[in-house]
């Protein structure tokens, strides 16, 4: 009798660790980027502590820089055998993250009936970069489109109607030219427009421009790019012309982190930026400002952007489950609505726009609804295998063109040649 009891106790003790592990994922770590100014870190920490109060699970949010820094830190840590359980990375990184073989798909983690329904609740545009090989690899989180912020005071001063934003390239160039202000010496004191052309952002700006010429930049499989197509070259020409022909934007490179300060200080009248910057601009602008969808060659077109939640192989099955649970919690309509209100990012599901909180907010701040209305004319972000490498050759050539070293046609031809060389191993035709 005693022996049997002891045996049972021993079995229980042996089995305990497995059971304990399954039930006690008490702590998760994730990396996230901040691509805009403002108090995003505080908002993320707030979400995590709310989750901790509700479920008892501590989620440690590690701020890891901008998107590309976060990507580098995440992959480096995972390759080193450590790293986070999940991370917010560019939605467009799916192909190259798969190349690295570090992702685990949602299907593999396990999606029940409810889980599938939850996935169907997102805007399809935001899941465009999530599907491959018949599986879902990421969950939309901080999603955006590129939009224009414009200084209404500058519009009035230049004799333009502040409530009417141009929708075509020619009208935009005209408006931007009129917004330029010079001092008596002829030096510019206010630029018409600025768009980011530094590494990590130039390809996003350009993705929008190419879509405005109605030219996709890559195929869905991420194995081909279309940089040297006539319409792509047209898009590059328009960008270059804003400086060389219209003198509405400065020559050379304009960098992303500089755009918000330039806009807020009145140095630039129009900037192309992410919706995620809305809260920051609302907070700090000392002048009336407007938000408008991007223009287009003939009609408005834009590009989606932002980050999705990715889950990693190196986490244990229990940790993966727990991570997915957090993802579901954080993307619930009320949370998505709150996230959108506090940051400006587009809430990831139509359901979030039905919540009273977001509905009231939009009634009060109509700018918050602009980006969403442009979702139907938004294309996916440039996303191919060896993504970072292709971004780099495209960016180098865009910068080569913007600094005047290359013609648009030459720059795009060079980018195409280089990208073809990089993507050759992935073409299986």
């Amino acid at each position: 009798m005693i022996r049997r009891r002891r045996l049972l106790a021993t079995t229980a003790a042996l089995a305990a660790p497995a059971v304990l592990r399954a039930q006690t994922v008490r702590k998760l770590t994730f990396y996230y980027p901040v691509a805009v100014g403002g108090a995003l870190t505080a908002i993320v920490d707030g979400l995590c502590s709310a989750y901790q109060k509700e479920t008892g699970v501590t989620v440690e949010a590690v701020y890891a820089g901008d998107y590309s820094q976060t990507l580098i830190k995440t992959t480096t840590a995972i390759r080193g055998g450590g790293g986070p359980h999940f991370a917010v990375l560019l939605a467009a990184e799916m192909h190259s993250l798969q190349d690295q073989d570090i992702l685990v798909s949602l299907d593999e983690i396990g999606l029940d009936q409810d889980g599938r329904k939850w996935l169907d609740g997102f805007y399809p545009a935001f899941l465009a970069n999530s599907h491959a090989e018949g599986k879902t690899w990421s969950v939309p989180f901080q999603r955006s489109t590129a939009i224009f912020y414009y200084n209404k005071a500058a519009f009035s001063e230049a004799g333009l109607d502040p409530d009417k934003f141009p929708t075509t390239w020619s009208a935009l160039a005209d408006t931007a030219t009129k917004l330029v202000k010079r001092d008596p010496k002829g030096d510019v004191t206010r630029w018409g427009i600025k768009m980011a052309s530094d590494l990590g952002n130039a390809q996003w700006t350009f993705g929008a421009l190419a879509n405005q010429a109605e030219q996709p930049l890559m195929n869905e499989a991420g194995t081909e790019v279309y940089f040297n197509r006539p319409k792509t070259i047209e898009a590059m020409t328009f960008w270059r012309d804003l400086a060389s022909r219209y003198h509405a934007t400065p020559d050379g490179m304009s960098s992303w982190p500089q755009l918000s300060p330039d806009f807020l200080s009145g140095n630039t009248a129009i900037i192309q930026h992410t919706t995620g910057n809305l809260a920051n601009v609302r907070d700090k602008a000392t002048f009336p400002f407007g938000v408008a969808g991007l223009a287009g060659k003939n009609s408005p077109h834009t590009v989606v952007g932002g980050g999705n939640l990715y889950f990693f192989k190196n986490a244990s099955p229990e940790e993966r489950q727990a991570s997915l649970k957090f993802a579901r919690w954080v993307s619930a309509p009320e949370r998505a609505a709150e996230w959108s209100i506090r940051t400006g990012y587009i809430a990831t599901s139509p359901a979030a726009y039905d919540t009273p909180a977001l509905r009231d907010f939009i009634a009060k701040v109509p700018e918050a609804n602009v980006a969403r209305t442009f979702l139907p004319v938004a294309t996916g972000e440039l996303s191919v295998h060896e993504n970072q490498r292709v971004y780099k050759v495209l960016t180098d050539n865009i910068q080569g063109c913007l600094t005047g070293a290359k013609t648009p046609a030459q720059a795009m031809a060079d980018a195409q040649t280089e990208a073809d060389r990089i993507l050759r191993p992935f073409k299986r035709t």
């Binding site: 590309s68 990507l71 580098i72 992959t75 480096t76 190349d99 690295q100 073989d101 010496k185 030096d187 510019v188 004191t189 052309s197 530094d198 590494l199 990590g200 400065p250 020559d251 050379g252 490179m253 304009s254 960098s255 500089q258 300060p261 200080s265 140095n267 060896e386 970072q388 490498r389 780099k392 960016t395 180098d396 050539n397 910068q399 080569g400 913007l402 600094t403 070293a405």
Partner: protein, 290 residues
């Protein structure tokens, strides 16, 4: 049978040897080996490719540009940082009012982390309303896109490096000047030697060991310190500020092309080995140590 003293000597050397091998020699050799293999994909072992990676490097225009940039960067930062350091040291060596404050001011850039320095200078370089453009506008200067223009970007990051480094080197020169025996000066004065002659014939030769040390450090830093590139330009525009180590970082950690990164690292090692040999082998022999 080894003598007891020999065994003891080896044992005493062992900790240092282990550290050196584990953190310096072994990684270097492994990098060399890696440079002969292709980048592994997934779990497949990488194939041996011999010198293919090196051949690919010869065709890589970004590599050549990085090399050119680095040559310009080294040629500009090393002499200007050293000369500036020497001038600053001479300035604060003598007895003048506010000497401590001046020394501190010169040394301040060294105490700041490079990332902070780069962010401060980003503001200086901001077009239109940054410090430099504002100051220049008083004198009728126009707008400069310092970091966004291919022609000014590299000089701009060079200026940051010189500003950051000169103060550090000044400390060494100052220490050397402070220990210089005063009787030499008295003797020179008695002989009727001019200040300039004394500086040229006595001070400079006596500073040579310090100069060699500073030079070695300056050369290493010209290839080693790239924090400000990461913060300020990320190698742009169009690779105008891509330095060799930054290119290695990009290839290794952004593109995960580990084989190419290893190959580039070997090239960097070779360059550093060559300059070290030149410095210690050729220059070192001419230095007079007291």
């Amino acid at each position: 049978m080894m003598r007891r003293e020999t065994v003891q000597a080896y044992l005493l050397l062992l900790p240092a040897v282990i550290l050196l091998v584990a953190f310096t020699h072994w990684p270097a050799i492994e990098t060399l080996v890696d440079s002969f293999y292709a980048t592994p994909h997934g779990s497949r072992p990488p194939p041996f490719v011999g010198l293919d990676n090196y051949a690919a490097l010869l065709d890589d225009t970004v590599f050549w540009q990085a090399l050119r940039n680095n040559a310009v960067y080294a040629a500009a930062t090393i002499p200007s940082a050293i000369i500036l350091a020497l001038l600053m040291a001479l300035a604060v060596n003598g007895a003048l009012p506010g000497r401590t404050f001046l020394r501190l001011a010169y040394f301040l850039p060294t105490m700041l982390p490079m990332i902070a320095v780069a962010n401060i200078w980003m503001f200086f370089y901001t077009p239109d309303y940054g410090l430099f453009d504002r100051v220049l506008s008083w004198f009728g200067g126009g707008r400069h896109n310092w970091l966004g223009d291919t022609s000014t970007a590299l000089p701009a990051v060079i200026a940051v490096a010189v500003w950051k480094e000169a103060g550090f080197f000044m400390i060494f020169y100052l220490a050397a000047l402070q220990t210089m025996p005063t009787d030499l000066r008295e003797a020179a004065t008695l002989e009727g030697s001019s200040r300039w002659n004394y500086f040229l014939r006595v001070t400079i030769p006596l500073l040579m060991p310090t100069s060699l040390f500073v030079l070695v450090n300056a050369v290493i830093n010209a290839f080693r310190v790239i924090d400000h590139i990461v913060v300020m330009t990320r190698g742009g525009p169009d690779n105008a500020t891509t330095l060799l180590l930054y290119y290695i970082y990009e290839t290794g950690f952004r593109f995960w092309d580990t084989a190419m990164a290893a190959t580039l690292t070997i090239v960097l090692l070779a360059i550093l080995a060559l300059t070290a040999w030149l410095q210690f082998g050729v220059l070192g022999k001419r230095v007079h140590y007291r």
